[in-house]
């Protein structure tokens, strides 16, 4: 092969050079090539051939590769026609055995010259028809090709026949051995270039102008191109670059950090759907979930980008900021993102909307940006585009969100709660073992029932806001142990922002959401190991009282249990909590949490009838689905819960003189209903989160097999690290776990046994 002869404009994939280099080495028998010799096959001698396993061995040794890779490579070379099977003219396959192969003459190597044309093919076919039928007879597809060619090349047929005859004559001069070799090589060549129909051909290229053999590769460069190049190079020179070591260290760290989130590196929990056929993993990790997995929540702490690129993360972050009255920043950020991705026709309108809402003087959600940035925005507003607010967005993102809100979020009790309540799917398997079929039926229906049942009991109109929509049951984890449906807070307006202020200066007061716990078996019969035979209690409506002393009150009302709930253990209580202006979550000790968790319905209604915020969620989970070992556990948990609840409400009631009713029925509490009525503060969702956190958390954490590990209620209170939370002197500072109380004595007063039923009357 003489590369120089090739037209330089021709395109030739670089693989051919490499293949040819390798094949030349193979043929260099003097320097350790593949042994080629006359091979005896029965009585005949096959000239110039080598054996499959010699070839494979050579490749393995030469390239330091395993047999499988060598075999693959050998087959590739064969497909391209660098050698061919001696005894099989149809299949270009290399086997790792004693089958024989012969090298192709370099003259016939692929992509040497232009591809052969049909005249050459016709000559070749015609030649074969002139020779010994037995040895040179045409295959069916070749006969067909020949007749087609004869039609198409009718005007050249005389020439073709002449050429063919000439070549036959010439070949007669050759020695027999040489003749056999050259015939086989020619045949192999055409096998590659005119393959039988349906056979793979390696030579096919994408039919784009630049990739065919004669493709002209480079566009003529204009002076414009050159100028651009120079410009780019000049800019590149002035670019600041970091040391390679620094850049690479960053990359290695990134990979190390994310290794545990890479399903192809670290196996997923509970399982990879593609492997196990079980889609639980997807259900647990769908874009918007009620309770994210613990792993997912942990990921949010890696970077703000991680948080905001996860829809659930973004939503939790927004919820958190809303509670801090500082979510206009994140809303602005989202609005600008949306703008950037909007259709061209929407740009003008959206630019104005964003300006009106966030930037105009006295805008309802005015964001705080410096004068310079504002000036830039005004400048850009003259010619609105999708990038108009980029400067402002950048400012908000880096200075406010990333440096202020995000770190606070990650440090907050709110986040810690999310983390603590996060699902840990690895442990879930135990629950799944219990009955997957059941879940489907029970969980899908329970939440809505609960919701419906609950609403009338509140004596207040329930408004399901945006949250409820997206958190609707259709999104819920229908296959999993958790089924959540939350109709959440509809937020109307941000009263004002603390984002610029030092939030730690703001005294947080906690108002404890009280809870009505309704344990029921709407989840189904399977729940029942511990179920009591009691009929559901009917619950009181929530009383809603306003202490008047503070800007917000939360009344937690008793939820009512539906008639359809068959097996019930109910804890109901009703009370009103006098609250401070804000609720805030605070940590609690997750493992100590009582291990009842479960279908929960929880709603919060604002006291102010004009702005009602209701949230409710339901959760069917571990208690309902736990394995038999939990039979022992649940009752005790319920005890705790009952105790706690009762005491909580007692305390509260004591302080505020509110009526309270708490009835406890049965031991198992698969359903907890919480309803709280609060003032018009956007507090509700927090309440909801708290309750939710509390209620769902035990599932993964509670050691089901060891009932003893449940700590008695009396032990719980001291373990709560309540830090920044202050409460009205009167109100008990129960943070997340509303039924926990500081007063162990009170808690004790209402201990219940598994089958016991008790009603606590208002004092």
């Amino acid at each position: 092969m003489e590369p120089d002869h090739r037209d330089h404009r021709c395109h030739r994939p670089s693989a051919f050079d490499k293949m040819e280099g390798l094949v030349r080495e193979m043929q260099d028998t003097e320097h350790g090539g593949v042994p080629v010799r006359s091979q005896k096959l029965f009585l005949t001698s096959i000239p110039a051939a080598f054996m499959g396993y010699d070839l494979i061995e050579w490749l393995m040794e030469r390239l330091g590769i395993e047999e499988s890779e060598a075999l693959n490579l050998a087959n590739q070379l064969c497909q391209y026609g660098y050698f061919f099977p001696v005894s099989d003219s149809k299949n270009l396959v290399v086997k790792d055995d004693s089958s024989l192969y012969r090298f192709q003459s370099p003259y016939y190597w692929p992509w040497q010259n232009r591809p052969p044309d049909n005249v050459e093919y016709a000559i070749y076919l015609a030649k074969r028809t002139l020779r010994n039928k037995q040895r040179h007879g045409l295959e069916d597809y070749e006969l067909e090709a020949l007749s087609n060619l004869r039609k198409n090349l009718a005007n050249k047929w005389d020439f073709i026949t002449m050429q063919a005859e000439e070549q036959v004559k010439l070949s007669k001069v050759l020695k027999k051995g040489d003749k056999i070799i050259s015939d086989s090589q020619e045949r192999a060549y055409w096998r590659v270039h005119r393959p039988p129909p349906g056979m793979v051909t390696s030579l096919e290229q994408c039919p784009v102008p630049t990739r065919s053999w004669n493709g002209s590769r480079t566009r003529k460069r204009t002076i414009e191109d050159c100028r651009r190049d120079v410009e780019l190079l000049k800019n590149s020179l002035s670019r600041t670059r970091v040391k390679v070591s620094q850049a690479l260290e960053g990359m290695v760290q990134h990979v190390e950090t994310y290794a545990e989130y890479d399903p192809l590196i670290t196996p997923t929990q509970p399982s990879n759907p593609w492997v196990s056929e079980d889609t639980t993993y997807w259900q647990l990790n769908s874009a918007l979930v009620e309770i994210p997995t613990e792993k997912r929540v942990r990921r949010w702490a890696l970077s703000m980008e991680e948080l905001v690129s996860d829809p659930t993360g973004l939503q939790e972050f927004t919820n958190y900021l809303r509670k801090e009255y500082s979510h206009e920043n994140i809303r602005f950020w989202m609005a600008v993102n949306d703008l950037r991705r909007s259709a061209q026709s929407q740009i003008q309108r959206k630019v104005n909307e964003i300006f009106e809402e966030f930037l105009a003087p006295g805008a309802p959600c005015e964001i705080n940006i410096d004068g310079k940035t504002m000036e830039k925005v005004h400048q850009e507003m003259k010619a609105p585009s999708r990038f108009t607010f980029d400067a402002a967005q950048e400012h908000v993102y880096t200075l406010l969100l990333k440096k202020d809100c995000y770190p606070r979020f990650i440090r907050s009790e709110y986040y810690k709660n999310l983390l603590a309540t996060g699902i840990q799917p690895s442990q879930k398997k135990r629950f799944f073992g219990f009955g997957q079929t059941k879940k489907k039926t029970s969980t899908s229906s329970a939440p809505n029932q609960q919701l419906l049942q609950q609403q009338p009991s509140q004596g207040a109109t329930v408004t399901c806001g945006a949250l409820s929509k997206r958190r609707g049951s259709d999104r819920s984890l229908s296959g999993s142990a958790h089924e959540l449906a939350v109709s959440g807070v509809k937020d109307s307006k941000v009263p004002h922002s603390h984002s610029q202020s030092n939030l730690s200066d703001i005294p947080y007061r906690v108002k404890k959401p009280s809870i009505a716990i309704v344990a029921g078996a709407s989840t189904s019969e399977e729940v029942c190991p511990w179920e009591s035979g009691n009929e559901p209690r009917s619950r009181k409506n929530s009383a809603q009282l306003d202490s008047g002393s503070s800007s917000s009150d939360i009344s937690v009302a008793v939820a009512e249990v539906s008639e359809r709930v068959q097996r019930v253990c109910t804890l109901t209580q009703q009370h009103t909590v006098d609250g401070s202006r804000k609720l805030s979550t605070s940590t609690m000790d997750p493992p100590r949490r009582a291990s009842v968790s479960v279908p929960i319905t929880h709603s919060t209604t604002t006291g102010d009838s004009s702005k009602r915020k209701v949230s409710s969620f339901e959760d069917n989970s571990s208690a309902a689905t736990s394995t038999s070992s939990s039979v022992f556990v649940i009752p005790s948990d319920t005890d705790n819960k009952a105790e706690e609840c009762t005491s909580t409400s007692k305390t509260v009631v004591k302080n505020h003189g509110l009526a309270k009713a708490c009835s406890v029925t049965g031991a198992n509490a698969p359903i907890i209903s919480v309803s709280s009525v609060a003032d018009d503060l956007p507090v509700d969702s927090k309440v909801e989160e708290e309750a939710e956190a509390t209620c769902s958390q035990q599932e993964p954490l509670a050691p089901l097999a060891e009932p003893d590990s449940e700590s008695p209620a009396s032990e719980l209170p001291p373990s709560e690290p309540i830090t920044e939370v202050e409460v009205d002197t009167e109100a008990k500072s129960n943070d997340v776990c509303p039924w926990e109380d500081d007063n162990p004595v009170q808690a004790k007063t209402c201990s219940i046994t598994a089958s016991a039923q008790r009603t606590l009357n208002p004092p």
Binding site: A15, K18, L59, L63, G64, I65, E69, N72, L73, Q76, V200, V208, R217, T218, R219, I223, C226, R228, D229, L232, L233, K234, L237, R241, V242, K243, V244, S245, Q246, A247, L248, E249, G250, M251, V252, H254, V255, E256, Y258, A259, Y261, P263, L264, I265, N272, P273, W274, V275, Y281, W282, N285, E305, V308, N337, R341, S342, A343, Q344, S345, Y397
Partner: protein, 353 residues
Amino acid sequence: MTETEGKDCPIETIESLTKEAEALKKKLEDERQKLNDITLATVADRLDIINYMNIKPRRTLKGHQAKVLCSDWSPDKRHIVSSSQDGKMIIWDAFTTNKEHAVTMPTTWVMACAYAPSGNLVACGGLDNKVTVYPLSLDEDVTLKKKTVGTHTSYMSCCIFPNSDQQILTGSGDSTCALWDVESGQLLQSFHGHSADVMSIDLAPSETGNTFVSGSCDKMVLIWDMRSGQCVQSFEGHESDVNSVKFHPSGDAVATGSDDATCRLFDLRADKEVAVYSKESIIFGVNSVDFSVSGRLLFAGYNDYTVNVWDTLKCVRVCLLYGHENRVSCLQVSPDGTALSTGSWDYTLRVWA
């Protein structure tokens, strides 16, 4: 340029500019070398070796009657759109291997297809030079609502929705990239800089990112500012066509696959090539590359029917995936990283996990 200046420095010609570019290139290379203090494999020395990968074929999607040329995962993590040489585009539920839609394009060699972020729209194109979007709906023929968004002056080789259903970014054999407004078909921005066919593009992973990378038959890898239309960074190194480009999940590097049988890693911050993934035994071109979600693994589909799995950091091959019976034309890790899809000229797609 004033007249006197014109006399002093000769008028710019292609030759003079080319010369200037050469000088600048050399200077640039020197600058880069100054900071070249360590290799990636050395930095990654502390990491454990990935000894064993249990990646196996889990699904085979059969239904195309011709070479599969491109595929893209739906954001829902289980659907795949694929396009083929015979002009068919198929929407698969890869999990069940069912075909949910099949669209026949009025062209052959549909070389690009892409799912929109909403999952409700797909775009495709090829030798017809056009990018066409199809809204997906189950109740009617999707071809009824098809819409041609943009037209290049040569074949369309790649397309991608930049985090929005409303825009589409395309690369073409006319050596340009273009950003189109889906609704109006308006050309929002065009990107000139390559001197040969653009083969592949990829978006920077950041949500707000306005940059993308392109690879071309001119062997160059360019980083673009989507907003200004300017090329902001360029990488040389490949000895042949760059067939595939992909951002590292960290956003600080891009991996490339080329006809020169190598994959390479270019770091944006160090502004240079930091790794070459090659072996003497690998002699065929790379058609497609993608990272596992952590960026530790680099999957590359080759013309020799195999997929090589590289340890991105240690720069060694982890394993080989055999299965396809012809070239692996496209390959992509699913959005949640649970699986790898490969498309091949053997008419099938496979899902590995």
